[in-house]
Structures are given as structure tokens and as C-alpha cells.
Subunit: 258 residues, 2 copies
Amino acid sequence: MTVPVLLNEDMLEEAGTRMENQTTSQLPAKCDACVVRHKAICAVLTNDELRGFNRIARQRLVPAGQVIAVESEIVFANIMEGVVKLTETLADGRQQIVGLQFPPDFLGRIYARETPYFAEAATDVELCSFPRVGFETMLERYPGLQRRLFENTLDELDAAREWMLLLGRKTAQEKVASLLFMIAKRAPSVGCAHGPDMNFATFSLPLTRADLADYLGLTLETVSRQITKLKTAGIIELADNREIIVPDIDALEKVSGA
Amino acid sequence: MTVPVLLNEDMLEEAGTRMENQTTSQLPAKCDACVVRHKAICAVLTNDELRGFNRIARQRLVPAGQVIAVESEIVFANIMEGVVKLTETLADGRQQIVGLQFPPDFLGRIYARETPYFAEAATDVELCSFPRVGFETMLERYPGLQRRLFENTLDELDAAREWMLLLGRKTAQEKVASLLFMIAKRAPSVGCAHGPDMNFATFSLPLTRADLADYLGLTLETVSRQITKLKTAGIIELADNREIIVPDIDALEKVSGA
DNA sequence: CGACATGTTGAACCTCATCAACCGACGTGG
DNA sequence: CCACGTCGGTTGATGAGGTTCAACATGTCG
């Protein structure tokens, strides 16, 4: 784990590339090229509103393992690329990942002065971030944005509660299978021809065994053992330690215990 | 467990007491007398807005153990009295409580056609409920209401994530202590002189051992054993099985593991 | 009174954590 | 270039914490 690097506004200013301030009502060039333009919270904004955002937005690269925000510091950002883990920790160091965020998720705890958890880059991460004050002004100004973030939050709450069921009631085997199943479902169809209807998936695990353990409430040894068990059972295949092939997603779902 | 009783609008009409429809801009009498008037979501409403709500609100009593809403059915309500548990279940019956709601919490998953979990009365419950369509109209009309529910949801998400840490990483002892500590903190000062600053609490557990177990991801036997262990350690005292005395809240918090 | 629900306690078992050794890949410095 | 440390991962042996199964106690309600 590296030293926390807070994304305060000075650093963003220094690190980011300032975007051109257009005066026409056209879509800003940066946003036009943005990979998550139509999926992130930006989807609910008009071109005019997007220009407002564009003026305060900063691109930011965060290397894997680096802390994005500790407690008492808030970052607002769209995740463009990579995986962010939200963690909570006990006094003696026991750790639990309480949320995983992928593009085009929005990162940040609004309506609070501090986040109750840590946000850390699980892989190299690319952010489109906003300073707190500017973002909160936008939030007041564009009601569609608040509504969108509200629905995001409701979905996150549903996901958190489903994860509580996993943490409280599932066996180690089911936990590992559930996580792989979850990732397999949302794996993008890269490198291999398969769609959402296909009963086949291949993906690169964005997490170490230790991260998997922290997400599932297990030890990394148990995770490793369960993965080899799934492998010998033929439920999954491993190319690399990280490259996972799921020949039969339905079978994986069955092992995941519902 | 009893047969599910859905709170659809017909039944509410039949079961509830229709409130008088005032034409003045005064506070409706029912709301004036309401115990949660200034704490529930109603706190953000003007007297005029409250009258609108009053027109569609229905009081409803739900006996302990009865299901308030199953998946695919949504109920919107303020909890006036009692405790509501939100549960998720695995195919083979393993169950997990994913949320506990006390007065003056708001019950209901907005912006969705169905709830992903069950809502069940843990004790006798008194609700002030609203039909779905009417409530959604109000939600559009009163922006303060949406904002208030948004903040509620954010708090619930924080609580859910803190609970994930408990479920994934705490020992049985710490889990039980954490739950007692949580209830001790929010216990109302009834029957005994103690404020939020007092290092002493007494309360009546609103849950059975089985419910505690389902909330903590344990078995009821383990919960029972840990409670007697806390008792013999002098951390808590039991009057009745349900009546709990915490002579030293700080000590309880220490056992809860942070 | 018997039936039932809630809770406690005991004994045996089993899953998973713990501690430890080991492996291959990678980067670095002598 | 190779020795070395580090990091991510696998595998093994052992045991503790919790589950499971079972008996029993208590209180309530018909």
C-alpha cells in the first residue's frame, strides 16, 4: 500500500489537462470522445450543461494500489477506466471491501463532509474528477443530475444488501463462485465473441487474491483453495492466474447458491 | 411466519382510517399529533404540502411476524411505531436481515417496480402509508422531499456498508456486542433517566434470538451463548430475556471491536 | 393440561483461519 | 550475469470458532 494521495483541487489543477472552454452549444470535444459519455451521470446532461461540467472537470490517472480518498476527504469523479475498491477497516487491521466500482460508475459521497471509508485503485484507474464546490453547485442547478445520482445510490444500496446476504450466509465455495459469476455477467465482450445472451465468458480478474478475500470476508488462502476446487471441478478454467474462462455460466451460477 | 399480507391500495382503504380533509392551510390535526412529525420525511414539508400528503395517507397496524411486502410489491410508509426488518433469502431457506428500520424511518424502494427483498414486522408495527402512484406524484412535486429521501438512502448505504464489515470480519462475540451497542445508542430514554451523554442504557430487545442471528450472520445458538458470555463478563445484565441493561456503554463498545 | 414458541446448554463435527513452506515471475543491484 | 528480495499465488498441517443436532427449561395460550 502506498502513501495516500488526496485529489484536492490544487493537485488536480497541476495534474490534469485543462479542457478548452467552448462558447458554442456544441458538445465539448473531450466529452464527445469520452468512452462513458452515454452511460455515466453525464448521460442526463444537455450539451450546455456538459460544457459547464467540462469547465471544472479534470482527467486524472491513479496507479494501482494508490489510495484515492481516505476518510475525511471527498472526491467526486466518474470512473473512466479501471476498478476502484471501497474499503472499511477495523482498528486491528482487519479489512473489508464494501464496494467495487467499475466504469462508468460515479465515485463520491455527496451531502457529507467526509467519506466513511477508503477509496483505493485496485488497478490503474482513470478518473474524470470534479472539485467539491463546483460539483455541488452543479448538483443544485441540474435537477436531473440529482435524480440520476439518487437512482445510482439506490442501486448501490440494493447491491450492498445482496452482498450482506453473501457475507452472512454463503459458504466459501458459494462466495467465490458468486463473485466470479458477478464479474462474468458484467464482463465486456472484449477479445472474444460473446454477448449477454451467451452462456460463456472470459475475463481478466481485476483483483488480487488478497482483494478477493477482503471482498468475500475470507482469507486469501481459502480463496485460492476454492478457485482451484472450481478449476478441478471444471466450472472454470485458468489461462493465467488472472485470466479466467467460464465455459458454462449457468453452471457457475448454480454453484454460487442462488 | 404468517401468510404475506400485501398493503395494496384497496386493503389500505379498507383497513385505514380516512383522515379529515382540511381546507385551511393549518397543519392537519392527525399530523399535528403525529409522534414523528418533526423527524420523519414530513419534516421537510410545508403545512400545505402536508395536507396533500394527509389526503392520501392511511394509518395501518401490522402485527408482529407479518410480512409487509414481498418481492414484486412495494409499500411506501413512515414507520410510526415498532421495528421492521428487511430480509433476503437463499433458495434453500438461509436468511439474512439486510436492514432494520425504526421510527421515524421511511419504508419503501422508490424508483423501482419491485423491492428486491422482504419487509416484515419484527414487532407490532404502526405505519403511516401512502399509495404508490400518489406518493410518486408528490415526489415529483416537492423537490425537498426527494432530497430528503436521497439523504436517507445515503445514510442507509453507509449503514449497510458498515454492516458488511461486521458480517465479513467480526467474531461472533464482536457481532453480538456491536448489535447491542447499536441499539443501546439509539434507545429512547424511556423508563429510566439517561440521555445520549450517559454511559448507561436500558432497553427492550425488539428481536428474537433467531432474528438477531439472521441479522448477524450467525445461528441462534451462537447468539444465545455469546449473550450469556457477555452477561457473565458483566458487560450486560438481563432482567428479562428481552430486557437488557448496559451499565457501561463504553465497555460494550470496546468488546464490539471498534 | 398439552401444544407450541422462545431460549439455554451440551457434545460432536466441520468449515475455515492460522501458520508455514514453497513456487515462479520480476526487478534490482553487486 | 546471477544472487537476492519481493510480490502474488499455491499447498499442507493443525486447530479454533461456529454450526449442527439434541435435550431441556420456561412461559403462554387454547
